[in-house]
Structures are given as C-alpha cells and as structure tokens.
C-alpha cells in the first residue's frame, strides 16, 4: 500500500512579503493517517490550502491524486478551522451537511428522497442522524465539528483534510471525534491529513507525523520526528522534547 497520493517537490510559498514555506519536499501515501503539527502561524493551514488549490506555490510542484491541485475537487474533503455557527442561523444540520453534496451547483435543491437518504447516511456515520433537523446554532461544539466532517465526507473523497478539528473540544469529545475519524478512514480507505496543536491524542492512531516550523518541514514516524535533535534542526534553535507519563511535551517552541 505504498502508492503516493500527494507529492510536494521543492515547494516554496511566499505570501506578500512573508515566506511561509521554503523548499518543502514530501510524499504521502494512499491510506496514511498523518498528523500535521507545528507552532501557530507556521503554515499548517496554508499547506492544506495549497493541496486544495486555493493557493498556488511560488515555486516547485504539487501533485495530488496525479494532478495539479484545482479548486472544486470532489475527491478531497475539507473541514476548515472550526468557527462557531451563529446561534440563530436558520439552517438545520441536514442543510449544512447537504452543502457538501451540491452546494456549489447552480439553482435550488429540489426535494429529492435519494438526496435526503444520502445526507442521512453521512449524518449516521458521524453518529448524528438523530440531530438531522436540529438548527445548527443549537448544536454543541463537538456536534458541529462532527457535522462539518460529515459534510466533507459526502462526496466520498479519497483524501480528507481537517484543520484543527479538536481545538475547541474537551477531552471526551475530542476522543469521540478521533475514534470516529479513525473508524471512517479505515472503512473507506481514505488518506487523512489532520492539523492539530496537540499530538498526544493522535499518536496511537496515526501512521506518520508532519512537523511544520520555521518555513521547513520534517515527516516521519513520531518517534523519529519529534525528538530534541530533529526539532532543534527544524527550528534552528534549541528545542527539547520531553516524554512524561506517556505524553510528549515540546519545550522552547514559541518564536
């Protein structure tokens, strides 16, 4: 199962005057579950947007599923950083999920039993079928997050990109979301890239770690990448990685 599905070669990205990424080369294989880590502002979200075709690299090449990334690719599912949906937004859970199916098509959605069933199936997969008619504003943070994931899954994508899906969740909810994603990814044989701040919840389920910092990146097994030498090299300044009580702490990170 070592078919490359995402390839970056010598990719540079400069936005305005800021260099975000420099000389990034990496390959991600089909079916891998990758955690993307790194400090704030390092470019993790930007990396996802490059894969979606929302940004174009200043130099270098990117290949996703054998093609150059272009907007509107149904083979990639995307759930961006969680924003709280307004409390009185007059949209039900099924409406928001439905966007994932045909939100980009012109006209209006005519009532369609097949479509409804499709939406309900997606909601079922994230354990939210019973909340299909609930207004989104009334859902909790964890439920809204699962909703956005369901939306991303509707077109049966081969790649799932999740930007900080766990940040606003408490431990219990975060664990629910992580096991949900793992289960779905395995069932559908999807490649998952998940940006997160805290790797500890994910270490047991991921294949490799992609660490982005200081415009550079390092990818590999967590025990190889998240080491004092590895990260110090990345940051170009002393960083210490401490393992305590079965968890990882990176010290000296803020720049």
């Amino acid at each position: 199962m070592s078919t490359p599905i995402i390839e970056l070669e010598n990719v540079d990205l400069t936005l305005g005057e800021r260099a975000i990424l420099h000389n990034i080369s990496l390959t991600i294989n089909e079916g891998e579950f990758i955690a993307i880590l790194g400090p704030n502002g390092a470019g993790k979200s930007t990396l996802l947007k490059l894969l979606l075709g929302l940004y174009k690299p200043t130099s270098g090449s990117i290949t996703v599923l054998g093609k150059t990334p272009k907007r509107g690719n149904n083979e990639i599912g995307y759930a961006p950083q969680h924003r709280t949906l307004e409390a009185d937004l007059a949209l039900r859970a099924r409406d928001v999920v439905g966007f994932g199916l045909d939100g980009n098509k012109w006209g209006i959605a005519l009532p369609n039993k097949k479509r409804d069933k499709h939406v309900e199936q997606a909601l079922d997969e994230v354990d939210m079928k019973h909340l299909a008619d609930m207004p989104v504003g009334k859902l909790s943070g964890g439920e809204q997050q699962r909703l956005l994931i369901a939306q991303a899954l509707l077109t049966h994508p081969k790649i799932l990109l999740l930007d900080e899906p766990l940040s606003n969740l408490d431990i219990t909810n975060a664990q629910v979301v992580v096991s949900l994603i793992t289960k779905i990814a395995r069932n559908r044989k999807m490649t998952v890239l998940l940006v997160t701040h805290d790797s500890n919840l994910l270490l047991p389920v991921i294949d490799r770690v992609l660490y982005v910092a200081n415009t550079h990146s390092a990818i590999g097994k967590s025990e190889d990448v998240i080491t004092s030498e590895g990260l110090s090299k990345l940051y170009n300044s002393p960083v210490e990685v401490v393992r305590a009580k079965g968890r990882l702490f990176v010290i000296g990170e803020e720049h």
């Binding site: 509107g72 980009n104 006209g107 909810n173």
Partner: protein, 286 residues
C-alpha cells in the same frame, strides 16, 4: 373602500408595493445572513445623491438612484472582504453622499418637499414608468437569485469550504451587491431613503428568529413583508396618514416584539433527544 381602489395611483401603489415587498423580503434574507445590513443602509444614502442629482439634470430620480447605487455596489463588491467591519469608512462615504444630495437638492429647488418625498417615500406618486422599472428590476433580481440560490447560500454560510468546493465566492458577492442596489432603489420608492430597513431587513430578521430552515424562512419573510406593506397602505388610506410611517411602524414593532418573545420560548422548542453521546447542554424543563 372599494372606490378608493378605482383610482389608478392607488392601484399602482399596491402593485409596486407588492412587487417590491416580495423582492426586498427575499434579498433581505441574504442581507441578514451575510450581516450586510449596514451596507444596504449605506447604499440607500448613496441613492439619495443619485435621486437628487438626477432631478437636477432633469432625469427621472429613479433612474439616477439605480445608477448611483449600482456603481457604489460594484465598488463595494470589488473591495470585498476589506469592507467587513469598515463602519467608519462606510459611514464617511454615506455621509458624503448625503452631503452631495443636499447640494443637488439646494441647486435644484428651494422646495423642501422633494427632499421629504425621497427621504420618506413617495409610493402614492408612483408613475407608470416607475412601475415598469420595478417590474423589470424585480424579474431580473428574482431570476438571478433563483439561479444563484444554492451557491450563494453556501458561500454566505461557509465561504471557506464553499471556495474549496469550487464556488466563485467573490463573483457571487459582487453580483449580490448589485442585486442589493436594485432592491434598495426600489425600496426607496416605497418607504424612502431613511426607512429602507423596514422593508429590507425587518421581515427577514423577524422570520429568521421564528423559522429554522431556508425555505420556510424566506416564505415567512415574504409573507411578513407583504403584510407590512399592505397593512401600511390600508392604514394610511383609512387614517389619512403618511404611508411610510405605517409600513415602517408595523415592521419595526413586530420585529421588536417577536425577538424577545422567541428568545424566551425557543429553548423549549427543541427538546434534546436521549442519546448516550449527547452532552447535556440543552436540557430544559418544560
């Protein structure tokens, strides 16, 4: 009462009022969703300069309003995200537009009645030309809205994901601003520059508190808009008062009553279903 309806100007008033109420209610739904109420307000003030400028050079004030608002809308649309939260800039432009309007007014006539008509509505003096323009504008707006509905809804709710899914978010924003300009111009005809909110925002904002999905919200918004307009017209004719006062009064009072009412009862409308996974955020005693 029926004899009143014999008069052409009253028939025109009801006809144009109906058409404009419908379009305003539907566009208003998106205005509220996209939090662009202030932009609408600004467009109406800019329209004032257009109306008085047009009168000054002898052109129909409706035409002048259309032109100015559409130009302003295009400007705002192209500035895009940079407009967000720019209250100060928008406020300055809107005030300057008003200042221009005052200048045109002073140059055109020392008669202050013109000003009052544009500022507070002139639906009882709608001409057949105005009516024709309203119908055309309404048809164009509704047709475009129908075509853009799904992607616009998506882009308004979640622009990032919509963009990733291939929705032309920026283009839709520009088109929407132009539709807003058309609608605001029409609303000015009914309630005047200063009371545009009554037709544009009030029905949709009220509906949004009550209904829970797009289709029902829009239908309710239209129903409210029509109720306010017809109610306002009838009251004005019966009680011999200014039309815009009645329409705006009805619209505002209903909104101000509906909001606190629904805030108190709405927690009770959505009972959380028992499910092992659900956090107990919304348990409610009925």
């Amino acid at each position: 009462m029926i004899e009143l309806l014999q008069h052409q100007f009253i028939q025109y008033a009801f006809l144009s009022g109906t058409i404009i109420a419908i379009v305003s209610a539907i566009i208003g739904y998106f205005v509220v969703l996209r939090a662009q109420a202030f932009a609408g307000h600004a467009l109406s003030h800019i329209g004032f300069a257009g109306a008085t400028g047009a009168a000054l050079i002898g052109v129909s004030s409706l035409t002048g309003t259309f032109i100015f608002t559409i130009l302003a809308a295009l400007g705002m649309g192209f500035l895009g995200k940079r407009i967000q939260g720019r209250d100060v800039e928008i406020g300055m432009i809107l005030s300057f537009a008003l200042g221009l309007g005052i200048l045109f007014l002073k140059l055109y006539t020392t008669n202050a009645n013109e000003a009052v008509g544009i500022l507070f509505g002139s639906i009882l003096s709608v001409t057949s030309y105005d009516l024709l323009l309203s119908i055309i504008s309404a048809c164009v707006s509704l047709l475009l809205l129908l075509i853009m509905f799904r992607p616009l809804l998506f882009a308004s709710t979640d622009p990032e994901v919509a963009e990733a899914r291939g929705v032309p978010v920026q283009l839709l924003s520009i088109i929407f601003m132009v539709l807003l300009a058309l609608t605001v111009t029409e609303a000015i005809l009914v309630v005047g520059v200063l009371l545009v909110f009554a037709l544009l925002v009030a029905p949709a904002a009220t509906a949004q508190h009550i209904a829970k999905r797009p289709l029902t919200t829009i239908v309710l918004s239209v129903a409210l808009g029509l109720a306010f307009t017809w109610g306002g017209l009838f009251l004005a004719l019966f009680l011999h008062g200014p039309v815009s006062f009645f329409i705006a009064g009805l619209a505002s009072i209903i909104y101000l009553l509906a909001v606190p009412f629904y805030h108190t009862i709405s927690p009770h409308l959505y009972k959380p279903l028992p499910h092992a996974d659900r956090e107990n955020k919304f348990t409610v005693e009925i």
